[in-house]
Structure formats: C-alpha cells, structure tokens
Symmetry: D2
Subunit: 331 residues, 4 copies
C-alpha cells in the first residue's frame, strides 16, 4: 500500500509499505479521510517531538476491513479514530488526568497513522459512525474532541458573551460549540472570508483586532477562547475578558516562546487563565455530535486531495484562507 | 480623638479629629488593634488608588461603644471589621462577584479606617468575636479572609502537595490553611527565620529558591500559592506546578508591570493560572476561625506600637524579617 | 388605586388602597403585567407562609413613575422586579448563599406586590428593560431567573441528553435553556398540547410517562430537570437519570410531604440529586435574556386579564392546559 | 495453596487450589493481609452480585513473588491492590466515569481475590508500598480510596462542620479525612467505644442519635457523610445538613430498599444529596497516604486471624464493636 511517511525530521515521502496486520485488540482500517493539521507541519520541521520513520496523520476515519483477536467490532463498520491512547497506569492516568499520560503513544505521532491506505488501530479507541455519514466528516472528530475539552473548561452559559480568537478549524468548531451553548459569540480573526464564515456558523459579531473587538463589547467577554496560537492573541486574551471572566487557551505556541501578561490586571479583575490540552474523555461525545450532524463541518473543508499530493501539501505552508485540507488516501 | 491620616499622596500625619457619630446602620468602634499592611504603604505613595484626606487602616477590630439607628449589635461587643462593602446592585454584584463590586467603598481606603481611637463602621460588616479573645487577634481576620478566598480557589485536598511562595503574613496564613486542608506543604521564602517559622506552623519542607524547591519535589506541587507579590515568584509559580496542577496568585504586582510566562508549558502540562482578589463571602469564616483559635496568629505579630508611631512606621519600609506590626490606637 | 390583596388566609379581595409613596432607595412602579403563579394559590390557602394583609403578585414589570431619595433610575424607565431582597448580613448571606437569606422579605409575599396599579419597590432590585419591549415579557423574568439557577446547577453540555419533567412555565423555560445549552431535550408532560408546544420550543422528543420516556431513551438522560412538583415525577426523576447523571428538582412539594427513593440505585449509578431554590445572582441574566428576545415567552401566555378578575382567577384552580395567565393591572 | 472460596451462594469454604500463574501484564502476589468487609457477607448471602465459584477478598496487600510478561514491577516489592479494573472502552469509561465501568471485573468479586496465599493480579492496578511498612496497613488502601472519593465529592473546607454518621471503618476513615481537611467533625454512632475512638482520631464532638447531634449543633453541619448504610441514617442525613449543605452517601442499602425524604426540606434549604461509588482515580492517593502514615489504621484493626478461620468469620455476623478483622493468609 502507499503511505505518506516522515522519513526523518525535514523529510517526508509517499512510499510503498506492506499493509499492516492488526494485532490482538486492533482493527485494520481502510482510511477514507485524514485531515492535514498544523501539527503535521510541526512534526515535519521537528518543532513537535516524534519518532521517525513513521506514517503521519492523526485526524482520520475509515472502514474496518479486518480485525485482530478479541475484537468485537464488525468488519464494514465506519469508525473515527481517537489517536491518543492512555496507559491507565502512570501517575497522571491514575489521577484521572489521562490527557497528560506519560506513556501516550499517539497514532500519527508515535505510531503509524492515517495518511495511508490502511492503518492498524486499537479497537477500543475506534468510535462507530453511521454507515450513511459523509466519509469526510469523520476526519473532524479529533479536532472537535480537543475543542470540546476546551469549551467544557470554559463552561459558557446561556446568555454569556464569548470571544473566539482565531478563525481556523479549532476556532470554527469552538464558535459552533459556544453558539450551541447559548452564548452570544464574536469571532475575532483577520481574514474577511473567515469572519463571513463565522457569521454563517452563528457568530453575532466579528472583529479583526483587539481594538475592534473592544469597540463592539467595551466590557469584554465572559469567556475568551484563544484558537490562533500566536503571541498576539495569547496576550490580548486576558485583556479582552470581562471582570471575573475566564480565558481558555487552545492555541499552541512553540516550546520556549514566552508571552507578557499583566498580573495586576488578572488579579484585580479576577480573570482566570486556563489551558486545554487534547481530548480527555471527549472523543465519544465528539463522534456522537458528528454522527448526529450537530456540527457543520462541510464549510470547513477547503479542498480534498489524493495521497499522492499529501507530502507536498504538508511540506508547503497552509494556503491562505484555507481551513482544512483533507487527504483521501484511497481515492 | 487622634487619627493617622493620609492627608495627601505622600503625606501621612497623626492629628486630632472629632469622634465620628455612627449613622443609621452603623456602629462606633473603639479600635483595639489595627495591622499595618503593605497596601497602606502603597496608599501613601499613590501606587494604589485612594481619596485623601482620610484615616488609613483596614485590618482592625475593637469594641462597639455606640450604635446608630436600626442596629441590634449590643454595646460592649468585640467585633472585627470587613472593610469591603459591596453595593449589591452593580453588574458584578448582581452576578455574585461581589469582590469585584464597582461601587465598593472600602474602609481605610475610601472612608475613614482603623488607625484612630474610634471608627464609625457599617454594623452588617462587623463580625462578632468572643469577649475573652486576645484583642490583637481580631486584626488578622481581614488578611485571613483574603487568604481563605485564594485557598478555596486552589482547593487543596488531603495528601496533595502545596508550595507557598513568600513567607509574609499572607504566606503564613496560606500555609496554615493548606496544612489544615490535609496537604503536605513547602514554604518557599528566602529568610531563614521565616522558613523556621514556616516549619513551626506546619511546613513539611522549606526552600529559598526555585531550584531549591525543585530539588526537594522534582515533579512540582499540585498547588502553588504565590504570596510574595514579586515578578520572580509569579514567573516561577507555573513552572513549579505539577502536571495538571493549579497556581493561585494572591500577591500583588504594580499596575502595568508584566511577567513572562511560557504558554507551551502551561498547555502541555495543563497548568491553570488563577488569581484571587480580596474576600468575597469569606470574612465570616475567617472571623469564626480566629474566634475558635484555629489559626495561630501570635507568631505573626512582630511588634505592637502606639498610634503616635503609626505614621512613621507606614512611611518607613517594612522592617527586615517583620511579619506584621500592629497599631494599638487606644494604648 | 385598586389592589388585589390577601386579606387573610383563604380570603382574597380587590380593593381600593392609597397609592404608596416610594421611600428612600425605592421607586414607584406603574405595573404593566404581573403573572399568576402557583405560589399565589398556596399563599391564599396558607400552604406557603405569608403575612396578610398584603397585596399579592411577585412576577411583575412596569414603568418607573416616581423615585425616592438617592435613586438614579429615571422616571419612564421600564423595569422588571426581582422580588427577593437579601439582607447581606445573615449567616447565609455572608456565605454567599443569598437565596437562603434568613431575612428575605419578598415583594408579593412579605410586602405589597404587583397585583395593583402601583407598587413601591427597592430600586436596586429593579432591572432595566428596553423601552420597546412587549410589556408582558417582563413578567417572565422572575420565573426565568429561578429556572436559570436550576439549569446552572444541572450544567447541561452540548450533546448531552436532558429530560424535562412537567410542561408548565418552569418546564417550558427549562426546555429552552437546555436547548440553548446545546442539549438534546425530551419534554415529559401528560397533556398533548404541552408536548406539542414543547416541540415548537425545541424538544427533540416528547413523552407522557416514565415508561414512555424510557422507551425512547433506554439509558436515561444525563440531566433530569423536575419541573412538575408532584410526588410521581420527583420519584421517577432519579430513575430516569443515566449512569453518573444529575437530577435537579425545581418543583415544589408541600412541607411535610415525603417521597420514596432507592439509595442503592442512586449509589451504584452515582446519580446526584440536586435541589434549586429561587434566583441567587441570576435575575440580571434573566432580564438580559428577556430583553434580547432570547427566550420565547409569547407561547407561554395563555390569557391576559384585568385586575378586576385577578382575585377570582387566583381563587380558582389553574385552568386545564393553561401555562401562564397575566394580570394587566392598569388595563 | 489454601484459598477461602465462595463455592456457591450461601456456601463458603477454605480449600486447596493450585497456585495461579501470572498471565501477561499480571503479577503473582503473596498475600500478607486481607480485610473482611461487609460486602464479603453480602456476596456469601447473594445480596450482592457475584459469579461463584471464586476466591473472595478485595481489600488486600502483599509481596510480588513472580511476574508475567511485560511487567516491570520487581519481585519483592510490597504492593496494595486496587480490585476494580475499568475497561477504558465502554460508554461510561469513555466519559471518564470509570467507577461505573460496564465491564469491571473486580478482584474478589468477579475473579479470584485475596483470601488465599497467592493471588494473580493485574500489575497496573498494584500500587507500591514501602518495604518497611506494617504489612497490615496495605489492607486499608481500598476502603480508604472509596472514602477519599466520597470526601472529594463532599469537599469539606477548613472551618466547616462535618457530621459522620456511622463509626465503622468507612466512618473512621472519613472522620480522619475531614479532620485533615480542616473541618470540625462530629462522629455520630451508637456504641460508646466507637465514639471514644472517634475522639481519639480527632472528632471534636460525638453523639449517638439525630436528636443528640442536633442538640450539639442546632443549625446542622455543612457536610453530612453517611457511612452506616442503614435506613435510619440515610433518612436523617439531609435533615442534619445545614442550610445550603451537602450530604454524601457512602453507605450501601440493599437493592430495592427505599427511604423517605422530604423534598420541601431539601429544596427550601437547598441541600444537595450526593452518592459516592467506589474509587475512581483515588487509589494511588490512598496508597500514598497509607505509605506516608498520614492515616491512623492501627486503631481500626480489631483482630487478625489465620486463613483457616476466614470462612467462619465471614459466615458469622460482624462482632459487636469490631471495626476491621484482617485475615493473614500466610501466617
Ligand atoms: N489544545 C489542543 O488540544 C489543540 C488541538 C488542536 C489544535 N490546537 C492548536 O490550536 C490552534 C488553532 O488550530 P487551527 O488548526 O485552527 O489553526 P489555523 O488554521 O492556523 O488557525 C489559526 C487562525 O488564527 C488566526 N489568526 C492568526 N493570527 C491572528 C491574530 N493576530 N488575530 C486573530 N486571529 C489570528 C488565523 O486567521 P486570520 O488570518 O483570519 O487571522 C488563522 O486562521 C493551533 O495553534 C493548533 O496548534 C490545539
Ligand atoms: N489577593 C489579595 O486579596 C491580597 C490580600 C492581601 C495581600 N495581598 C498581597 O499578598 C502579598 C503578600 O502580602 P504580605 O503582607 O504577606 O507581604 P510581605 O510581608 O511583603 O511578604 C512577602 C514575602 O515574600 C517573600 N519574598 C520576596 N521575594 C521572594 C522571592 N524571590 N522568593 C521567595 N519569597 C520571596 C519575602 O520573604 P523573604 O524575604 O523570606 O523571601 C516576604 O516575606 C502582597 O503582594 C500583598 O499585596 C493580596
Ligand atoms: N425552585 C424554584 O425556585 C421554583 C420557582 C418557581 C416555581 N417552582 C415550582 O416549579 C413547579 C412548576 O411550576 P409551574 O408554574 O411550571 O407549574 P405548573 O404550571 O403547575 O406546571 C406543572 C406541570 O407539570 C405537569 N405534570 C403534572 N403531573 C405530571 C406527571 N405525573 N408527569 C409529567 N408531568 C406532570 C403538568 O402538565 P401535564 O398536565 O401536561 O402533565 C403541569 O403543566 C411548581 O411546583 C412550582 O411551585 C419552583
Ligand atoms: N460507597 C462505597 O464505595 C463503599 C465502599 C465501602 C463500603 N461502603 C459501605 O459503607 C458502609 C460502612 O461500611 P463499614 O465497613 O464501615 O461498615 P460497618 O462496620 O458495618 O459500620 C457501620 C457503622 O454504622 C453504625 N450505625 C449503625 N446504625 C446506626 C445508626 N442508626 N446511627 C448511627 N450509626 C449507626 C454502626 O455503629 P454503632 O453500632 O456504633 O451505631 C456501625 O459501626 C457500608 O454500608 C458499606 O457497604 C461503601
Ligand atoms: Zn498514562
Ligand atoms: Zn457592586
Ligand atoms: Zn440574609
Ligand atoms: Zn468501562
């Protein structure tokens, strides 16, 4: 089969490899769709830790085509894959903080992932999707699960105001979750097209800058969700929170990068700064929401591409205005 | 009567003023003890907002000697005073965030306070203390109430590890609350005498620096409570938190001062950065704990002084090693 | 002016009384609309404590027509009234549990209320509504504020399942709040008309009985909100909760009435039984939601009536199928 | 080896069985101590579900004497055993509610347990204890882990009042956790000897009955922890809670048994009724507290007995006044 592999840091290639055999407790999945995420670019450039050589791709869904021993999932089932596997035995797992598992071997980061025709995958991390679902939709369960964790943490309530900073896939999912949670939401992103998409997905307001956001809501927001992952937005997030408000950081800055915050402002206005990491106990909810069509993902698909183009697309920077490019490995 | 007054920014003076008359809903208190807090120095130097001329002193207790209309508190009762008075009608009060009240007129900051022989004070903010309590103890209810709010937020659990950064009065109170909460506590402060006092008050470990703290607990603490109010400790606090840990900032940096934090470290270890401002709904608990002798405050009293020396003591920097100096206005 | 007064337990009468004068801190409100609530019937029959003689009516809104000393609200402002006034000084208020205030004198229960042409009312408990709002809508802020408190407690999350038991005004408001919170909601009520209204307001499912509800969702609901206030629904609520689910009781049974619960079922499935009492810190949010038109209240208005008919309507049982009858005292 | 086995419902016998071989991921433990719990009696009488024939015993600790494939625990290590094993894949596990796992096969209930000389046990559920710890202490980690879960839920804060209902092992552990959490605790149990032990372990007050408890604290307790598991105490628990208080039920009533509660009292005083089931994510904390000697368990050991007497002791009712009887299978 063909697989797009990180051969070494800085080197990515689509090559022929054997179809894997599912081990005990695993299923073999024919991959229908696998999203290209910013993390894939970090893995390529070595700014996110990985263990090459390995097949990339951690946002994927497909059809079970074979099963290992001890697996009850039927062949033919459509599933979406939670790439993170916690050990259940490390000191973090034992405290219930499974997203901080010290032994997590994430599929697509620490073991072969979804940019391939087939993927051997732990059955208990595969969530069933309806047979009649658009195959592309399953590729959004992983980013949605991460976003649900962040929004659970921020806990927007009906009638509250929420600002989303950043109009990428995480921002657009966060926006929809907050609108669904009954909040009045502002999308803060620079590109006009993303602002327009934000309105389509339920944003009551849009802005391009901190000053623009403040002009609309001078008192700030009950909850600010940082989904851009750049210094500027992380620094503006607490300032845009209302007195007594919460900030949830989902965006990732590089290891070692620092930002400046003003403790006086946090303290006298009692603004809380929370960070949300991946998807503890939220993947099943994400899969259920995608299965039920409760989240609009079609507008987030900027383009699809065959596996043959995956390596080049990962190697290039994200295209301007692109939300998500989805690889169809078997197309 | 004599009162120590902030005549103008930078100018403090003890002078003769009329004894106030308690208005409707107020009591007249003969002040037994009033602590000198770092905030008093900030008020003098104008680094904390106030409206001079006014009598300073917001950590005080005394005896009710007269009552205004509509007050049921008996004369002769010993009370401790919650200086903050929320309006109940501003947008923050209406959401239950009374410590962020937009109309708070704090006694000793916005109206005449406790560095005086007598003080007119709202009866419903006066908490009854036992007749046989050491009069000095009542001066600790206000800082204790602030500390309780921060420790409630941090929510230490039996068996958890807590680091307290800073061995002043707030740190020593936080230490005792965390020890009482069943945690294993480390006091991180530079002065050897404060470390020794920390041990006396229940600290299992002590350290002087971040490196020292980390050498003892390499994985960090479930909860880090910042009580020093300097850049260095605010910056080290999240680094000293364990994976999945919480940081509570109680210490105050100046308005406009910034610190550097590393978002990657917060996010990948899901460390939460919380800030705690004054004492919403905690003063009654503080008064009850002081009344019951559950908190050791005697070791926190570095010296007592008569009102005549209050102005000079506020004008001078805190003495080295001093925890709390208490003014006895009627001594 | 005319006022509908509880003259004594069991005796209600509309009679001529003097227009009240607003005291210091009060406003005089010309009442535009005042809802008849089940509690009014309890007050009449003495099954809920009150201090007659007094004018009933605690769900009302109107126009400020005069103001007492110290009030900044302008004449002509439309306001809705939070009938509960906490003292801020009792042991429950001091802990922030203001809905349990020991000294609450509720308007319409402990002092003259809204079934009258005019009502003198504490200015700081009056929430501003838009000048162009339908005057009837303001009568729903009080029940909405109570319901918000219950739903905050139950904390439904996007994608969760919620069952609402009871299709009265509280049930219909709870339904809308849970739909807005992103939940999939079932309305459980016996009357077909109320089920149909529930669908209109966003219910995904409806049922008439416990068995019917269970047939649709065999695993139960993440959250069950009891809004009927009868033994049967209180007893079925925990059984209908999913493993690990929450139950919030909003409905009121009579003092002394008991229900049977099975602790084994609660414990082995870890179902939590929560109760929600009136509206601590939620009235401003309720008023804002009504002002913004975020809650549909028109379908909840079964009929309007003049003050002359208020006494008879309170004395009669609620009409079959009626959600809310609204008295227009100045019509 | 010898093992005390539930041969069938109602039939328990100590008999010779082969020493088990540890499978992949398992360790073989030489059992040093295994507590007799009320649940063992329920298993014998069939009032708690089980799958005989099987070796009973779920509160045990011992020494690793052999390891299966893939295990890193060293032979000779002292460990305590968390009998519950969640699957990580059922709908409850996927939501993080691992104590409600639908596929939990608990050691001593669903697979061979600790009333035997040796036990094969999943390595990742074995928690390391110090080599120099009293071997009996490890038998208390399981009940302590369950109690920690309940007390986490009740969340006592320094200065709050807590009533513990029931002076068995769970009550005595709950008492210590609440004292450690800074609360003022009353032990409510009928036996004078247990009251006296409660005082030794930190109780500030003791009582034998509801009336006795109320006479001491007329306003009730912030938190009531039910640890007796009888109708009477479950019914009194909410009544003994203070306005706004919490009740945590740890005690187990039989399936189908019902109790009477008064919803009016719960609602108007906003008392929350919580139930706590076994030990999600708390066993490591329990083991650490036992290892550190933070919990006094010696006074809870009423007697030790050899394996030969285990069957008779389980078959007989608990001896009057007995807290815990510990079987020493290898003595
Ligand atoms: N915490 C987690 O578990 C988790 C999981 C997945 C992803 N992430 C992180 O979440 C972040 C977002 O992911 P993504 O896939 O949505 O990334 P993305 O497609 O790069 O989206 C980021 C968006 O931020 C906007 N942006 C950039 N600078 C901005 C500024 N100064 N002000 C306002 N908006 C700005 C950009 O739109 P404009 O050009 O319109 O401004 C861009 O669309 C990334 O950092 C990613 O690593 C975190
Ligand atoms: N949030 C609130 O509601 C609230 C209420 C009251 C007070 N506060 C604030 O809380 C802070 C503490 O108040 P306080 O009265 O206890 O002040 P303090 O007496 O000045 O105590 C601060 C302590 O921090 C220690 N410290 C200074 N630099 C340090 C470092 N680099 N590492 C470790 N420890 C260091 C000092 O002891 P060593 O010399 O031994 O290091 C000093 O004793 C202040 O900022 C105050 O404004 C906040
Ligand atoms: N906690 C608080 O702060 C608060 C505040 C306000 C009101 N309340 C209480 O909340 C409850 C609801 O108030 P409301 O004004 O909405 O009362 P309501 O108009 O009497 O509504 C109750 C509804 O319950 C339904 N019901 C009765 N028996 C039922 C059963 N066996 N199964 C299913 N549904 C049943 C009835 O509809 P069907 O005939 O269709 O079944 C009825 O419409 C009352 O008990 C009230 O006292 C509490
Ligand atoms: N939720 C969980 O995860 C979990 C885990 C383990 C155990 N449990 C359950 O927790 C309960 C306690 O376990 P245990 O091992 O401690 O049981 P236990 O030894 O039987 O202790 C129960 C105690 O309750 C006291 N009691 C009985 N009736 C009373 C009354 N009317 N008023 C006051 N006290 C009364 C008894 O002492 P006096 O004779 O002095 O009154 C007895 O010592 C059991 O129901 C057990 O099944 C639950
Ligand atoms: Zn792990
Ligand atoms: Zn205010
Ligand atoms: Zn009150
Ligand atoms: Zn499971």
């Amino acid at each position: 089969m063909r697989a797009t592999r990180l051969v070494d840091i800085g080197e990515i290639r689509t090559e022929e490899v054997p179809v894997p055999t599912p081990a005990r407790g695993e299923v073999l999945i024919r991959v229908e769709a696998c999203g290209i995420c910013g993390t894939d670019r970090h893995l390529l450039h070595g700014t996110f830790p990985s263990k090459p050589p390995l097949t990339l791709g951690h946002e994927f869904a497909g059809i079970v085509v074979a099963v290992g021993d001890g697996v009850t999932l039927a062949e033919g089932t459509r599933v979406t894959c939670d790439p993170n596997t916690w050990c259940g035995a490390c000191e973090n797992c034992l405290r219930g903080r499974v997203n901080l598992c010290l032994n997590n071997v994430a599929t697509g980061l620490g073991r072969d992932g979804g940019f391939a025709e087939f993927c051997a995958f732990p059955a208990h991390k595969a969530h069933v999707l309806p047979a009649d679902l658009d195959p592309l939709h399953g590729a959004f369960c992983e980013p949605l699960a991460c976003t649900i964790h962040g929004i659970d943490m921020g806990a927007p309530r009906p009638g509250e105001r929420v600002m989303i900073l950043g109009g990428g896939v995480i921002g657009m999912l966060a926006l929809q979750l907050c609108v669904q949670a009954g909040a009045e939401v502002m999308m803060v992103t620079r590109a006009a097209a993303k602002q327009a998409l934000g309105r389509t997905l339920g944003a009551a307001e849009t802005a391009a800058t901190e000053a623009g956001a403040r002009a609309i809501w001078p008192l700030g927001a009950d909850l600010v969700v940082e989904c851009a992952g750049v210094t500027e937005t992380v620094e503006m997030a607490p300032r845009l929170a209302r007195d007594g408000g919460r900030v949830v950081i989902l965006g990732v800055l590089g290891r070692g990068e620092t930002v400046r915050i003003e403790p006086f402002d946090l303290l006298f206005r009692e603004v809380q700064l929370l960070s949300s990491f991946i998807n503890p106990f939220t993947q099943a909810r994400a899969a259920a929401m995608i299965a039920a069509g409760r989240i609009r993902v079609d507008p987030l698909i900027s383009r699809t591409l065959p596996l043959a183009e995956a390596a080049a697309s990962i190697a290039a920077p994200a295209r301007a205005g692109e939300i998500r490019a989805i690889v169809l490995p078997c197309a």
